[in-house]
């Protein structure tokens, strides 16, 4: 029997710390592995992954609805591909996106298909 998984390191950080952390990692020589958004009941959660020498650092950021997220493309240019994807699928707006496709990255038959609506509270 084997258990051969990587150590799972996911740190939750506040929204305002994102750019500070991104800057640190960029200076430390990390690469952007991916950005993943998950939407449930109107809330969106973003998972940022960075890697250096097989050590992966993940940051989870909870994004309030209708909030514009600051883009990390200033530090990681290659992240434009992930951010445009999140923009097109989840309807999240990014500020200062270096290469902005303005919603034309994926041409979709329905707009922002992954976006979920908040559950209505039963009174």
């Amino acid at each position: 029997m084997t258990r051969s998984h990587e150590v799972q390191e996911i740190t939750e950080i506040s929204y305002s710390d994102l750019l500070v952390k991104a800057k640190e990692l960029a200076e430390g020589g990390y690469r952007a592995v991916q950005i993943c958004a998950t939407s449930k009941d109107g809330k969106t959660e973003m998972l940022y992954s960075f890697d250096k020498d097989f050590k992966m650092i993940n940051y989870r950021v909870n994004v309030p609805s209708e909030m514009r997220v600051s883009s990390i493309t200033g530090f990681f240019w290659s992240a434009f591909i992930f951010e445009n994807e999140v923009h097109d699928l989840f309807g999240i707006e990014f500020t200062d996106l270096v290469l902005d496709y303005k919603g034309n990255f994926f041409k979709l038959s329905s707009k922002t298909p992954w976006k979920t609506e908040a559950k209505k509270e039963v009174q």
């Binding site: 991916q34 097989f54 240019w77 290659s78 992930f82």
Partner: protein, 360 residues
């Protein structure tokens, strides 16, 4: 200073096996800027997680891409197994390693063929694909499928591959080696092939690191981010060492892949020697719990990232795959800047983009 022209490249283009569209901004023959636009193959496959339970999703994930299909099912299964704290039997892990390396051989041969085709060397293309058929025969004989295998499930493999079949695989690979040597030597030694590749599309180590490129593209420039150095699979036990080249041009990237074919053969042969007897799967009970899990494996095109998020029911909240090409598109944009129009196909080919992976 010439006039600037924009040349649309793709989606339906004789040199492209798959639809990708590039807007090439040209100044005379030189590419000043390339803007990729994708979305021709976007299906929204990850959203099917809401309609299929976590076990069935394994087969859907396999259909992210028909070339590295085995790896996708493995990566997804590994993430779910991690989330559910399932220990996979030893023999299953060995079988996964063997089949993953077989996929790598077939994928690299496919790529070498397409590269030859892009150069206009059609007979070489035919030879590569002829050799690739013997790997597909192994797949067909052992799992029943040629490209989509459906061989992995959560908790192990569907069926065992008997000892005799494994021995047969080794014989086939040993026989292939001689023929492979003849064909791959054309890529490495032939003057006309070298003329197209040597010194073309140079990528420095810094570019690779900065833009987060992965896979053989990164290894061609001497950057090792081969996910086989991680613990998943049996690579560590088999003494895996990544193959690195330093030149960073198209030729180096080609050389990495050629050497990897032979390395994969060695890995498989060594693995077949070491594979223990035992069960190949364990029954999976219960539901994926709350929480999330990440798994990474090395696909033929580079590191692939799998993320699953469970909520305690049989439907996952999120299954995400970040495929290798997805991370390599920025480097493609970079390498196209300043190259000549007639080298564009060569550049696109040596990055080895897999568009249906990228868009899912």
């Amino acid at each position: 200073m010439g006039k600037r022209t924009i040349v649309p490249f793709g989606p339906q283009h004789p040199a492209l096996p798959e639809p990708i569209h590039l807007d090439l901004e040209l100044e005379d023959e030189k590419v000043i800027r390339a803007v990729p636009s994708i979305g021709y193959v976007h299906r929204g496959l990850e959203k099917l997680v809401e309609q299929n339970d976590y076990q069935i999703m394994c087969y859907v994930m396999e259909r992210v891409c028909g070339i590295c299909s085995f790896g996708h099912s493995w990566g997804y299964a590994a993430a779910v197994e991690g989330l559910m704290d399932i220990e996979v039997p030893e023999r299953a892990e060995h079988l996964r390693t063997i089949f993953h390396e077989l996929s790598r051989i077939h994928s690299h041969l496919l790529w070498l063929g397409l590269l030859a085709d892009a150069m206009g060397f059609e007979s070489l293309f035919m030879h590569c694909w002829r050799l690739r058929e013997s790997i597909l025969d192994i797949f067909e004989k052992s799992t029943g499928g040629r490209v989509i295998l459906s061989f992995t499930k959560i908790g192990g493999q569907f069926k065992d591959i008997p000892k005799e079949s494994l021995a047969e695989i080794v014989i086939i690979l040993e026989n292939m080696r001689k023929e492979l040597l003849v064909v791959t030597n054309v890529f490495l030694d032939d003057t006309s092939v070298k003329n197209r590749m040597c010194g073309v599309g140079k990528l420095s180590k810094e570019d690779i690191m900065k833009l987060g490129a992965i896979g053989p593209t990164a290894r061609g420039s001497g950057v090792n981010n081969d996910a086989r150095c991680l613990d998943l699979g049996k690579y560590k036990e088999l003494g895996f060492k990544p193959i690195l080249e330093t030149d960073g041009d198209c030729y180096a990237r080609c050389k990495v892949r050629v050497r990897e074919i032979f390395q994969s053969i060695d890995i498989i042969i060594k693995d077949v020697e070491n594979i223990p007897e035992g069960p190949v799967n364990i029954p999976v009970k219960g539901m994926p719990p709350m929480g999330d899990f990440i798994a990474r494996i090395e696909q033929p095109r580079g590191e692939a990232f799998y993320y699953v998020k469970g909520n305690g029911t049989k439907y996952l909240d999120r299954a995400r795959v970040r495929t290798p090409t997805n991370a390599n598109i920025p480097i493609l944009v970079k390498v196209l800047q300043g190259c000549y129009l007639n080298d564009v196909t060569m550049m696109v080919m040596t990055i080895d983009p897999c568009i249906s992976c990228t868009e899912r």
